[in-house]
Symmetry: C2
Subunit: 551 residues, 2 copies
């Protein structure tokens, strides 16, 4: 079979149904083979958006997100999106259509090349640090093994990989024999090592009187969410998530006690873990600043454990933690929409099957206070923190949700609720057009209009011009990007009451069309967590400066 | 003075007035010093757009375009725009605000870093191939010399450079003494070598009976346009430009004979140069495929020369070349707007001081047929050919035009005429919001609406779904992005007559506001040059395939 046909067949076997990307003269023939396997071409508005969308798709479906770009121009435009997937451990397969091998050898100055006497493979060197593996399909004999190898790495490490396809190799015949069996994508484990690890964990829990569990993001990335949740239900030990781990643990469980984010946690949480626990099991951790309250966790006993065996009775350490009631926000009674109110409210509006996508900025800080019902999934990019991520990630997640809905038709169709600030929206807004093009009806776009980059105003230069943005008419976005009924589907609210009314309307509870809700908020209002984290950073910086000065 | 103040003062001395970029927590304090030197912060919608805008600004003003981003997320998003500047020899200074040196040494997992145990300087390695020089401002003693060094390289090579500013060095005091004299940015020349080069050229011309001159893009990039034009006027030798060199030579000169693009040229041009000339002077060349008719130039005698000395009489080789009249296009009489008509028409509508920006795609191929009046400047990205370039480049050029207009207030204010297809527009559309935010009134946006990626339909898969795009309502774009009078300023035309009427209206001749003109064209109509180039490539590929197969 032709090489391109093999590639797509293999990718289809992984459960991938939709392919992101932008067409270009060096990948068009590659795309011709998509239909053969029932793969759907998304056709994004640009390549950065395609990468973000593939990231969102992968987070929802568990299989890799796949994007196709053209050498150089498209490939580099996608780079920041791939870097985000690398940093946040998301499975991506980035397929790049390149010049033919003849032009490469001749170092011909073909369009999209870099400078005079160009090395056509320079771009594959540039992307080295943001991927775990790559291959060049320039040898018909080894190509299928190479494809299988990099896909396997993608799964085992849960990281991006690249596949480069020279124009002249798109159609070369390759052996299809290895397609007969699905790819082995699970890690090989050493039974003895595994058993001794499990025993070590059991021993530690057995010795512990007041254990706690902290669940973090890599549990999700390595596909261990349901295994872990069966374990947690048996253990019944006080459990927390990090900001990045939020929504992995069903938040209605009695053993769940909220988000642990170092000193930037609700009252009582840090001390319940750091002081009152004699054992903390930190599972699937990723200790970035914004996932640890700016590195303000005070933990000395940390190790990682994971088992699916039945739990011996003597390990049960049921313990009820009584957290103090958080203090009432001073603007509790405000009629206008406040930071202290909106995140919990959006959290509460989400129903089983819904996805919440939060943009970097106030939304990301605010949502740690929301309580999600069971079956609500949460996507946000906390460690890499690239503004603009959320809009295309919403597209990818909504596509995945539609595919998974039709795979499990009995369930209520879930909604994808995007929460994005007016500043971040501007970076990637055109992907709304792709949502409309694909007829995705399951999306609610909540635009927080607080007149610029509020998170940056909180950090520095509150009234500086560089934190202002162009003033857009958000009410026209849906119409502009192709929704004929965009006017009806767009609303603006500036009070809690009007917000309540919209989100409880039949149009919002049972989506028949994409919806846009613009929420007017004060430009200086910020979540308490953001303020607390900035205060911590400033204290830290002051300390560092003093040290540098020998104080 | 503080380090950041030195940096901006030096940049202001170069003639730079506007700074592109997106604010981020790692560059905010750097931006605080902008005002001190009267520099204006543009505030782009995203970083790729900022890089493209800086590129357009530099092409117009001759000084570097400057952009500011945040480590990682912003820096990588801009990479493709910087790569384009590198490939097309445009001066850029990319300033990146990074984590502090303490966090770098500790390899702390700060947001925007890459993976676990992160090397904070990994991104500066990634961008190595797309720049000519860089510096890290992490030493107060050497910082000012480092700034001066990389700016000098930026000019001497006409290529991008990077300046990395760690957070903790923004305010450190540095010596301001070197600011007293402007930076030396002209190359040191060896007088003897120069004289012998000039003599060599003079000798060759003296020996030649039928010389021709081909003017290419690097003349513009190295700031030699006016010097060269004085020389051309004296020499009065038949002169051509390449597609990338177009608009460097005033097209009303009797010695100017059009665009030389290998076999993809108007009738008679290739043979006038390749057959009838005994000497071809190829000045400032850049021999990429799309600048040479797909490498179809048949030249054996090529060399490069440039002099400003008075030309000896015996060098005059005045020669009138009589080119055959191009054949009349078969759709000459069409009432609807055709590819064979529109480019010449837009070329003719441009007046002295106007800029035409053409997007990659049909516009870029089509404009080689247009004749520009004197004082019309042309910007397009032919070698790198990244779709989406033109919209932000238009912003940058329009800003430069406004600045240059106020510097030379006597002239009629020029217009920036952007010509972009509906497909390419989608990649970077949000930069229209920045044009409106800045109150730029000198812009006409011509959107060629031909229902998708027409250039790709011509290359492969004319009816394939991957060449379709989301259907937008272009008439709402100005309103959406903040122009209150956007409705009045937006028009759609589908006949030559209605197009004529709009472009000759007072609103278009004397711009008081940004204008958008949507031009409906057939999705399968393409410029003859595009078709000719594709035919050549296909012939070439067939030949290569036969060679590969031993035929």
């Amino acid at each position: 079979m032709p090489l391109a046909a093999y590639l797509w067949r293999r990718i289809r076997q992984l459960g991938v149904q939709s392919i992101m990307g932008v067409p270009g003269d060096m990948n068009l023939e590659l795309l011709d083979y998509l239909d053969d396997d029932g793969l759907e071409w998304v056709g994004n508005a640009n390549e950065l958006n395609a990468a973000y969308a593939a990231d969102g798709y992968s987070r929802m479906k568990g299989c890799p997100g796949v994007l196709v770009t053209t050498m150089g121009v498209g490939e580099l435009s996608a780079l920041n999106g791939v870097a985000g997937a690398y940093t946040e451990h998301v499975k991506l397969i980035h397929i790049v259509g390149t010049t033919g091998t003849g032009a490469q050898k001749a170092r011909a100055m073909i369009h999209h090349c870099l400078g005079p006497n160009p090395d056509h493979r320079i771009y594959s060197k540039i992307s080295g640090p943001v991927r775990m593996a790559h291959c060049w399909l320039d040898n018909a004999k080894t190509a299928t093994a190479e494809i299988d190898r990099v896909i396997r790495v993608c799964y085992l490490k849960s990281l991006p990989v690249y596949i480069f396809v020279p124009l002249d190799f798109t159609h070369v015949p390759v052996s299809a024999s290895s397609l007969d069996q699905p790819l082995t994508i699970t890690p090989q484990t050493d039974d003895d090592a595994c058993a001794s690890a499990v025993n070590a964990v059991i021993d530690r829990i057995a010795m512990s009187k007041t254990p706690s569990i902290v669940v973090d993001t890599l549990v999700h990335r390595f596909g261990a969410t349901s295994i872990l949740n069966r374990l947690l239900d048996q253990l019944d030990i006080p459990t927390f998530t990090t900001p990045m781990g939020k929504s992995i643990v069903p938040e209605d469980r009695s053993y769940f006690h909220g988000v642990y984010n170092g000193q930037v946690s609700l009252p009582g949480i840090a001390s319940a873990i750091e002081v009152s626990s004699d054992l903390v099991i930190d599972i699937g951790f990723l200790h970035s600043d914004s996932n640890t309250g700016g590195h303000s966790r005070l933990l000395t006993r940390v190790f990682q454990a994971l088992t699916t065996d039945p739990i011996p009775r003597n390990l049960l350490r049921r313990r009820i933690i009584h957290l103090p009631t958080p203090s009432v926000p001073s603007d509790e009674d405000a009629k206008h929409i406040t930071q202290s109110w909106i995140w919990k409210r959006i959290g509460a509006m989400a129903q089983p099957g819904d996805i919440i996508i939060a943009e970097s900025g106030t939304a990301q800080f605010g949502f740690s206070d929301a309580v999600f019902g069971p079956g609500v999934q949460y996507i946000t990019q906390i460690y890499f923190g690239s503004i603009g991520y959320s809009v295309p990630a919403c597209l990818g997640a909504a596509i995945a949700q539609r595919e998974m809905g039709s795979e499990a038709a009995s369930q209520r169709p879930g909604r994808t609720i995007l929460v994005v600030g007016d500043g971040s929206l501007q970076l990637t807004v055109q992907e709304i057009g792709t949502m409309i093009k694909l007829g995705l009806k399951n999306i609610i776009i909540v635009v927080i209009n607080n007149n610029g980059y509020t998170i940056e105003r909180a950090i520095h230069g509150p009234e500086r011009g560089y934190n202002d943005i162009a003033t857009w008419n958000h009410q026209l976005l849906l119409n502009t990007f192709g929704d004929k009924y965009g006017k009806v589907n767009s609303r603006v609210v500036n009070t809690k009451e009007s917000f309540e009314k919209v989100i409880s309307s039949p149009e919002y509870l049972d989506l028949a069309s994409i919806q846009l809700l613009e929420v007017i908020m004060d430009k200086m209002d910020v979540p308490w967590r953001l303020k607390a984290q900035i205060d911590l950073i400033n204290q830290h910086n002051t300390r560092i400066t003093k040290q540098d000065n020998g104080v």
